[in-house]
Point group: C2
Chain length 439, copies 2
C-alpha cells in the first residue's frame, strides 16, 4: 500500500536499495536516541506532566485530528476497506476524548524506571544494585489504528523511552497530525519533540530500514496480525517482541462442572470477537460430550456462532444448528470472528496433544473439578497463560492488574503474556567499590 | 570450514538449498522439543542426579575424550591454529576433571524452575501466579572450546531445557564423543539422551538451519567473537541473546584517588587479557593527566602493555615506554590482548561522550571521589554494568554472586549483563478461577 504522503524517492541507476530512505530513517533514529538520553533520567513528575499535556493537546486539537482522519476514512472507503477496519480507523471527538483519558490514566501509574530489582553487599564489600532503566528507543509497527499511535507514545514516554512509529498507511493522515500535536505538547513541557516520531512517510521501505537499525533501535514491537508479525520476524535484526496471535483453546474435562463450562466458553468466544484472547477451539472430553455439546452448540448458535466440528461433534449437534465439517485448517486458524472449531477428544492427553500441535502459545483454559487434571494441564500446556475454570478473556494487562498494556507477548524471551510498562525497560548493574580489584 | 565428520550431502539438480540438512536439523530439534517436555517438570533431585552422573561419566571416559581431542588438536596444528586457540581446544585429564567439577557445582545451585515471580488474588477472586518455567529448547553456537559443550549442556539441563549444540568445527571430534558420553549418562538416569544433541555434523549450513527453526528452538545463545555474533543476528529468526563483546572503558576523573586508579586500571587490563570484561580504553581527565599518566603508562608497560595513545597521552609518556599513536580504529577495537587505548579528555562530559560513541555497552568504570560525578556517570552511561571505584573484571556471574554463568548479555532484551540459570527460563501465568467470566 502507498499513501499520498509518501515522497518520491529518487534512486541512482545502479542502486537496488534507496539510500535516501535508509539515510532519512537513520536520522530519525539518531534524533530518537538523542532524545531518549534526555528522557532517561527525567523523574516521574516530568513525565506525568508531559502525559497530561499530551492529553490536553489532543482534546484541544480534536477538530484538526478529525479532519485529517476524515481524509483517511474517505481513502479507506474508496479502497474498499472492510467495515471492521473502517471502524477501527475512524476517530470522533468522543474517541479522541477516550484516547486522551488513557494518557491521563498512564500518568497515574507508578514509574517503572529506577526500581531496584535486586541488590546486595558481597562478602568482599562490593555494593550491587540491579536497576530498572529505559530501553532507549522503541520501534512500534502496527496497523491502521490511530489510537495505537497515542497509546504507544504514552507507554514509551512513561517508561522513559523514545518511540518511532510506523502505523498502517491507511491511517497516515491521522497519524501525521497526531504525532505533530504530541510533539508540540512535549516541546511546550521542555521535552524533545523527537521522543515521538513517525516514519510513515517512507512507507514499507522505511519500515524495513527501521527493523534493521540494530544499535540505534533497542526493541521492535509489532502489533497486528500474523502476517505483519511474520514479516517483522523475518526482516528484523533489531530484537523483536512478538505479540498477539492467539489460537486459544478451551478444554472441557471429563469432570467439568458443565454449568460452569457453558458460560466460560460463551464468554471466551463471544464477549468480544476480534481479540487475541478470544477462544478459537473448544475441546470436549468424550465422556461429557453427549451431555454438554448439544446444549453448548445451541447456546453458541444463539449467539450467532458458526461451529466447525469434527465428526463426533457434528453427530451431537442439534438439527437446526449451523455446523460445518472441520479440517486441519480450522485447528490452525485464529478466526477472530463468530466461528469456533470444536473437537471431541478421548482424554486429557489428547487435549494436551491437540493444544501442543495447534496452539500459538497465547492462552488455554481447562474446565475441571479434578485437581490432578488441572495440575497436569497447567504443567504441560506451554502457553503464556493457563486458566483453570476461568475465561481466556482474562489474559489482558488491565484484567491481570498490570495497568496499561503494550501488547501480549507470545514469545518466551524478555516478556511472556500481557506486557506492562516494566516490559519496556531493561536493567543495569551498578557496582560500588572502594578500589576493589579482582584477585 | 569443513570437518571429516560432515556427511556427503546430496542435493537435487534444481535445489539451491540442501533439503537433507534442513530435514535432519529439524528432526534434531523435534527430538529436542520432545525431550524438553519430559524434562520441563522434572524436579531438582532428578536434574541434580543427572548432572552428577554426567560428571562421573566424563571422568570415567576421560581416555576416550582425550583420544578424540588429540585428533582435533592434530588437525588444528596442521591447519595452523594460533597457540591461544590450540590451548583452548586442548583437553587433558586434569581439564576434564575441572569440567566435571563445574557440573557438580551446578548441582549445588538452586533450581530456578517453579519460582513464583509474582502473584496475587484479584478483587474478583481470580488467583494469579507468574511462575518461572524452562524455555524449552536452547541453541548454543560457539567456538572451538570443548569445555563450553559440557558447560552449556549442564546449564541447560539444570534450567529444565534441552540444548542443541553447534561447536566450532575444529573441536568436532571432541564434541562428538562428549555429547555421546553425556547422552549415555542421561539415559542411565532415565532421562532422554536427546536433551543434549550436537549438529556439528552438518557444518555451517546446519548452524544456519538451526537459527531459523523458530517455534522449535526457543532461544539462541551465540558465544564467541564479534563475527560469530553478527552472523547469528543477521541469519536468525529464532530470538537471540547477544553475548560477550566488550569494548570496556575505565575513566579516571578529576577528583580520582590516583593511588586507587592505578591498581584498578592494571587489574582491569592485565589480570586476564582475553576476556570480555577486560579494559580496552583508559580515559583520563586532563586535570590529573600530568600526575597520573606517566606513572600509569610505566606500570602498564612493566606488565607488557602496549599503549595506543592520543597526542596528549604520547606527550606525557615516559621516553622508554612503547606508545603508538591511536586512531579511531583503536577506540573501536576490543583488543583482547596486552594493548590499551588511552585518551586524555577535557571533562566528564567528554568521557561520557567518548563512551557513548565507542562502547559496546558491556562494562564501564569511573574512578572518582566526587559524588555528583559518580551519579552522572552511573545515570548517563548506558551499559550493562557500571562500576564506581572498582575493576571492570567484576562483571561476571560468579563474581556478582549469580552462580553459574551462560554468558554476558550486551543486549537489552530479556537479560543484560551476566546471565545465570534464571536467564535460561521464561515465565507462565497460571490463573485459577471458580467459573470466572469477563463482564
Amino acid at each position: 500500500m502507498t499513501t499520498s504522503l509518501e515522497p518520491t524517492v529518487v534512486t541512482g541507476p545502479d542502486e537496488g536499495a534507496q539510500p535516501d530512505v535508509r539515510e532519512q530513517v537513520t536520522r530519525v533514529a539518531q534524533r530518537a536516541k538523542a532524545a531518549s538520553r534526555r528522557l532517561a533520567n527525567a523523574n516521574r513528575a516530568t513525565k506525568d506532566a508531559a502525559l497530561l499535556a499530551m492529553a490536553d493537546a489532543l482534546v484541544a486539537q480534536a477538530d484538526r485530528i478529525v479532519a485529517a482522519n476524515a481524509q483517511d476514512v474517505a481513502r479507506g472507503h474508496a479502497a474498499g476497506l472492510t467495515p471492521g477496519l473502517l471502524d477501527r480507523l475512524t476517530l470522533t471527538d468522543a474517541r479522541i476524548a477516550a484516547i486522551a483519558d488513557a494518557l491521563r490514566e498512564l500518568a497515574g501509574l507508578p514509574d517503572p524506571v529506577g526500581e531496584v530489582v535486586r541488590g546486595q553487599t558481597l562478602p568482599n564489600g562490593l555494593r550491587l544494585r540491579q536497576l530498572r532503566v529505559p530501553m532507549g528507543v522503541v520501534g512500534m509497527i502496527y496497523e491502521a489504528r490511530p489510537n495505537v499511535t497515542v497509546d504507544a507514545a504514552g507507554l514509551a514516554l512513561k517508561s522513559g523511552n523514545a518511540v518511532i512509529l510506523r502505523g498502517g498507511s491507511a491511517a497516515a493522515s491521522s497519524n501525521a497530525v497526531i504525532v505533530e500535536v504530541l510533539g508540540e505538547a512535549l516541546e511546550k513541557r521542555g521535552l524533545p519533540g523527537a521522543l515521538v516520531q513517525s516514519i510513515d512517510a517512507w512507507g514499507r521501505e522505511g519500515a524495513v530500514e527501521l527493523m534493521q537499525l540494530r544499535g540505534l533501535v533497542d526493541v521492535l514491537v509489532p502489533r497486528g496480525g500474523a502476517d505483519l508479525i511474520r514479516t517483522v520476524v523475518r526482516e528484523a535484526t533489531v530484537p523483536v517482541i512478538e505479540t498477539g496471535v492467539g489460537n486459544v483453546h478451551v478444554y472441557v474435562d471429563e469432570t467439568a462442572d458443565l454449568a460452569m463450562a457453558l458460560p466460560i466458553i460463551l464468554n471466551a468466544k463471544t464477549q468480544r470477537v476480534g481479540v487475541c484472547n478470544a477462544a478459537e477451539t473448544l475441546l470436549v472430553h468424550r465422556a461429557v460430550a453427549d451431555e454438554f455439546l448439544p446444549a453448548a452448540i445451541a447456546a453458541l448458535a444463539d449467539c450467532g456462532v458458526t461451529i466447525h466440528g469434527d465428526a463426533a461433534t457434528r453427530r451431537l449437534a442439534p438439527e437446526e444448528a449451523d455446523v460445518v465439517a472441520a479440517t486441519d485448517d480450522d485447528w490452525a486458524t485464529e478466526y477472530l470472528s463468530l466461528d469456533l472449531a470444536v473437537r471431541v477428544v478421548d482424554d486429557l492427553d489428547e487435549a494436551i496433544e491437540h493444544i501442543r500441535e495447534w496452539s500459538s502459545g497465547h492462552t488455554e483454559a481447562i474446565v475441571t473439578r479434578d485437581l490432578a487434571a488441572s495440575e497436569r494441564f497447567v504443567a504441560e500446556v506451554d502457553s503464556a497463560a493457563v486458566m483453570v475454570n476461568a475465561s481466556t478473556r482474562f489474559t489482558d494487562g488491565g484484567q491481570l492488574g498490570l495497568g496499561a498494556e503494550i501488547g501480549i507477548s507470545t514469545q518466551k524471551l524478555h516478556a511472556r503474556g500481557p506486557m506492562g510498562l516494566a516490559e519496556l525497560t531493561t536493567t543495569k548493574w551498578v557496582v560500588h567499590g572502594d578500589g576493589h580489584v579482582r584477585p
